[in-house]
């Protein structure tokens, strides 16, 4: 699917051209955004250390094999690796933690492996459902969230199934 390779350069040129036309002080604004990015990356470091260590211990100890045996019926049914099932659960809870897990999968299996592609698709196709619901409602003092959480869970499950399906189909 190299048809999408042009997309990023295209968007970058669009943004810069649009900025020039509208007389944005491009470099200063860019630096300002990049600074926010750097701070975000720094805030991410503790999450990364925590996740890398936890996943590292879990994998090296042989616990994955034990868990795979326990979850075998479900994994057999969906035909997916255990790591990605886990990733999709973490995805709904914590964005930085899920990013850390995805990078861990990239490092272990490679970004262009089936696992790497499935992890990318899972990460890209949904958002940190529980975190967003908590923050957004919390910010305005809404305590009764009514049906927001069941809808979120349904959508997350749909995204998991759709990701597994499409990655198998596209990269078979």
């Amino acid at each position: 699917m190299s048809a999408f390779s042009w997309l990023i350069p295209f968007i970058i040129s669009m943004v810069f051209l649009h900025g020039l036309i509208n007389k944005v002080r491009i470099f200063e604004v860019f630096v300002q955004g990049a600074r926010e990015g750097l701070l975000l990356a720094i805030r991410l470091i503790p999450y990364l250390v925590g996740i890398y260590v936890a996943v590292g211990i879990f994998r090296e100890s042989g616990a994955v094999e034990i868990m795979v045996k326990a979850l075998y019926p479900l994994i057999e049914l969906l035909q997916v690796p255990a790591d990605t099932l886990f990733l999709s659960i973490v995805r709904s809870l914590s964005g930085p933690a899920a990013l850390g897990m995805m990078m861990e999968i990239f490092d272990t299996y490679g970004p262009d492996s089936f696992m790497g592609r499935l992890a990318s698709t899972l990460m890209g196709s949904t958002d940190t459902t529980f975190y967003i619901i908590a923050i957004y409602f919390g910010s305005v003092g809404v305590r009764k969230t009514r049906y927001a959480i069941p809808v979120g869970i349904l959508a997350d499950s749909a995204s998991f199934l759709a990701s597994v399906y499409i990655v198998k189909k596209m990269f078979a």
Partner: protein
């Protein structure tokens, strides 16, 4: 998250003890910690780059214009918000920033949208229909340009970092459709009870 974290660490240590290879735990933990830092340093570059570009798009009004373009669709989705209400503008900005993969630019708009929606809320401690629809669409995440994912794939040495764009688009459209339909059904059930 606390449960998962403890489960991974304690489960790992117990499993290692069970398998009789407790000696692998310490090097595994130390190696993992240092590779996390290596990865974080890699990450600083790519995240800074993307948020820099996102900032330019925001300052030039590109994100604003994109929102206006999609406006008619959103009025359909939020029948309870009066036309021209400022909540709509914030929702549009938030969702378009999300679609373009500018997650960080999206959050301030999202919180502003919630603030505006709260002004229309007769029962301030209870979520309104519009809030639920907004969050359903927001959390199911329609992504046109998964910038962070592409950047991280590139950082991990992928030969074609953007090859997953089509798959992500498909999966996120599926989940958004499910979210919209589920939200609609739940809304009817709840309005009757």
């Amino acid at each position: 998250m606390n449960w998962i974290f403890s489960f991974l660490i304690l489960g790992g240590i117990f499993a290692a003890a069970w398998n009789g290879r407790l000696e692998v735990i310490t090097p595994a933990a130390l190696n993992a910690a240092s590779s996390a830092i290596e990865r974080a340093i890699n990450l600083m570059g790519v995240i800074s780059l993307w948020l820099g570009i996102a900032k330019v798009a925001e300052a030039s009004g590109l994100i604003d214009q994109m929102s206006k373009f999609i406006a008619p669709v959103f009025t359909l989705l939020f029948p309870s918000i009066p036309r021209g209400h400022p909540a709509l503008g914030s929702i549009l900005m938030n969702l378009s920033a999300n679609m373009l993969g500018f997650g960080n630019a999206a959050t301030p708009f999202g919180l502003k949208a919630m603030k505006e929606l709260q002004k229309l809320n007769p029962h301030p401690d209870t979520a309104t229909e519009a809030m639920c629809t907004f969050l359903a669409i927001n959390t199911s995440g329609v992504t046109l340009v998964p910038a962070t994912i592409i950047a991280l794939r590139a950082a991990a040495g992928s030969k074609n970092p953007s090859e997953v764009v089509g798959a992500i688009l498909f999966a996120s459209i599926c989940s958004t459709l499910v979210a919209i339909v589920a939200d609609y059904i739940f809304r009817i059930i709840y309005s009757k009870s």
